[in-house]
């Protein structure tokens, strides 16, 4: 990859890599794409993706950039339709790597039923980027009457998670820091719309959804508790975390409840719908470990409380910055 100011070289990049991958919608290059009329309330979101290394066990920056934005749409109950993709590439990035990542984006978008309809590429000088940054925006459509938002949360709501926690963060950390464990922890990066759409179709009374990314479960629940002015009480031993992730967290002195996921969400549902919602989640290939982890209690003040098996309670606080590995 060379640093250039556009022209023929950039055109060649488009012809050889982006057009074949992203297909028909980019075939008539124009300054913007005109979309079909939407059949419902439109949802719109944007996010930027930076991750080192750009290819990691269980995924890469490309699939992550698609899943992340599609998942943000899904959290409003919106079916993903269209994506944009902006690339900042660092000079020296191997073309083969770019090709691999673009291909991975294509496959991820196909799997989610979304189309990448517009994009942009810039190349920055060496040492001015971390290999590759990707920004994606997404448009989706809400085709049901549910208001999926923190303000819909009620005391008594069941709090569910869609699968085991912390795999993405530990996968990245183990590669980045060269930590060798007996097993390779793979990222949980995945689209969640399919599972969410099944919950909606089954008529589950969903009050709020939130995907678990940076800051993990703790961050997401603290944000929701604050926005909904809700007290959320969790049962620690019902929170699904795989043994390899727990072991890695124990060794490094990290709390798994603060570790990032990329394909997991929490759902607040009416208590009578919790068994149905869990059954739908668990019948999904990525939701085998889905579980009810707690409930919303009568509001005293917004806080997330964790009860352990010994019956003791503790506050699950908002993380203050990145977790740092400890001394001993």
């Amino acid at each position: 990859m060379a640093h250039g100011g556009g022209g023929k070289w950039m055109h060649q990049l488009l012809e050889e890599i982006f057009l074949p991958a992203f297909g028909s919608s980019l075939e008539e290059p124009h300054d913007s794409t005109v979309l079909e009329k939407l059949n419902g309330r439109p949802a719109f979101t944007t996010d930027s993706y930076v991750v080192r290394p750009i290819i990691f066990p269980g995924g890469d920056i490309g699939s992550m950039a698609v899943h992340g934005t599609v998942n943000d749409l899904a959290m409003s109950g919106a079916r993903p339709l269209y994506l944009s993709a902006g690339f900042i590439l660092e000079e020296g990035l191997p073309i083969a790597t770019l090709r691999q990542i673009v291909q991975s984006m294509r496959e991820a978008a196909l799997r989610c039923g979304a189309r990448i309809v517009t994009g942009d590429t810039k190349v920055v000088e060496k040492l001015h980027g971390d290999g590759m940054f990707i920004s994606t925006s997404g448009i989706g459509v809400v085709e049901h009457p549910l208001v999926i938002s923190p303000r819909s949360i009620r005391p008594g709501d069941a709090v569910l998670v869609s699968g085991d926690l912390g795999r993405h963060g530990m996968a990245i950390m183990s590669v980045r820091e060269g930590l060798n464990f007996e097993t390779t922890i793979e990222s949980d990066s995945a689209p969640v719309w399919d599972m969410v759409s099944k919950l909606i179709a089954a008529g589950a009374e969903i009050h709020c959804l939130r995907d678990l990314t940076r800051g993990g479960l703790s961050s997401a629940l603290n944000e929701i508790a604050g926005a909904a002015k809700a007290r959320i009480v969790l049962q620690e031993d019902s929170i699904p975390v795989r043994d390899d992730v727990r072991a890695a967290c124990e060794i490094l002195g990290l709390d798994q409840l603060y570790v990032a996921c990329e394909g997991r969400f929490v759902a607040f549902v009416a208590p009578e719908n919790a068994p149905l919602a869990l059954e739908i989640m668990r019948s999904h290939p990525s939701g085998i470990d889905a579980a009810q982890i707690g409930e919303v209690s009568e509001n005293l003040r917004p806080v997330v409380v964790l009860k352990n098996t010994l019956g003791a309670k503790r506050i699950l606080d908002m993380p203050s910055g990145e977790q740092l590995p400890r001394i001993c």
């Binding site: 043994d243 727990r246 124990e250 352990n308 098996t309 503790r314 506050i315 740092l324 001993c328």
Partner: protein, 370 residues
Amino acid sequence: MKYLDEYRDATLAKKIAAEIHRVTTRPWTIMEICGGQTHAILRFGLDELLPRHISLIHGPGCPVCVTPLEIIEQALNIASREDVIFCSFGDMLRVPGCETDLLAVKARGGNVKIVYSPLDAVSIAEQNPNQEVVFFAVGFETTAPATAMAVLSASQKRLRNFSLLVSHVLVPPAMEALLSSPDCRVQGFLAAGHVCAVMGCEEYLPIANKYHVPIVVTGFEPLDILQGVLMCVKQLETGRAEVENQYARAVTQQGNQIAQRLLREIFCVVPRKWRGFGEIPRSGLGFREAYAPFDAGKKFNVAHNRVNEPAECQSGLILQGRLKPAGCPAFGNRCTPEHPLGALMVSSEGACAAYYRYRGHEENSFAKSS
């Protein structure tokens, strides 16, 4: 998970707690030495399982917390140099100096790296022969052998661009400093299991005898700690003052003798300043003359930097077990993990961090009473 869940078994924990209730007839004050134990106590709510009149007070065993401000300042000074790659364990990065911390030095472009082992810093020195690589060696007897190993390795490799800012400290002298204070409340100790895994149990015998205080070498999981408390209470109730080993799965009487030999080869015992205690004689490790070229304090001429602790931070009283974190007027308002007055609020083993994190800062008014 194997080797972990067994030691967190709720039924067994309640059984041991019931036994503690059964044997306790009087109020007792027990200090757990290690910050890892403090965090486990608060994380699992173990103090809530104990009889009301057993008071657990939190000891000075957090390596980050007891590192004096002047060493932090020396570290910041070295880390800010352009020719230096400064390597540190992760939880030193948020520890506040007088004006800044290592994370801020890194954000301003300083080359500060988090390492998991001092040997990683040796590798970095090998890979960067034109840069000075400095490892920030803090910790008790637990981490000191790994530091000694790094010095030995760098010495064998004849690395001239590798040095260490050493602030290693020793547990027994701090226990003596606590016990010889006239207002000492401690009646029994849970000694730090990992320190004893290296050093063994024998060096605690003279302390138990001289001050007539029971010392139970204790692990870090809920069952370890509860069992340690039970053993300590039984000694107190029967008037014994012995060194007992609860953590026998990791600690032997003699300790790890290879590690001890290595420590003696590289380091000698020196007086060391502790945050909250001031200077304690024979309480730290310093380089032997033969390894003095690895002393970053001398190499970068920062060893003479002297600063005093800020007055508002009560870490001295907390590290000596004379004040509980929530009893500090600054706790949770002028001192938070985002804006700490002292290391205890940011270290993963700090008592203030444990209270803030696990007990919250508004909800648990009960935590305010010490």
